[in-house]
Subunit: 117 residues, 2 copies
């Protein structure tokens, strides 16, 4: 982690498309989808596991998983007749950077990368 102050022009900056931000935030704005993401904290889950744990219908979960995938918040991996979903942390990082830019007046209309682990 970089600790010394750097000049503005060499800061890491990410230009964030508002259409993508809206899509990501929309994906995060539903209780079922937040519950799915919460289940994925502990690693990959197949749809059938999520159906069992969340008590939601299979087509409903497929619908929400597609929304999360289209937003880039999750990835899917096919394994035989199962599909495993997992968190895509890059997108979380990108949206965090976008939101952080609202707390940093000097960054005007662009987002600044932060929170790197």
């Amino acid at each position: 982690m970089r600790m010394t102050k750097v000049a503005p022009q060499i800061r890491i900056r990410l230009k964030v498309d508002p259409v993508l931000v809206a899509r990501i935030c929309h994906a995060l704005s539903d209780a079922t989808r937040l519950a799915i993401l919460d289940r994925l904290r502990n690693g990959d889950q197949c749809v059938c596991d999520l159906v069992d744990v969340l008590g939601a219908g299979q087509s409903r979960l497929s619908f929400h998983l597609k929304t999360l995938k289209d937003a880039g918040l999750v990835r899917d991996r096919k394994d035989g007749r199962w599909v495993h979903y997992s968190l895509n942390t890059e997108t979380f990082l990108a949206i965090e950077a976008f939101l952080a830019s609202f707390r940093k007046a000097e960054d005007a209309t662009e987002a600044q990368a932060c929170c790197k682990t």
Copy 2:
């Protein structure tokens, strides 16, 4: 900014209500509202200024400003016959912390505060 490592039990933690997260993210999921937030980067704006700049109807802007205010993303301040809106950075920080928790396996179901300026 704290630079030394701290033990997990004394980390700052924020329990985030999924209902509030959904409300905040919903507020962030609309192009008009993102445009409003972008205008507020440079400080307070009254509704009439936003109407001029964004080219949207007044009732439409009032509707979206209410959505943003209910989500805690903006504050309003009455000044004579004008109402000035401004960014509420605390809520941005809270939602960033919530999102960051998905990138930190050890935090399980709670969000960790980060990105403090």
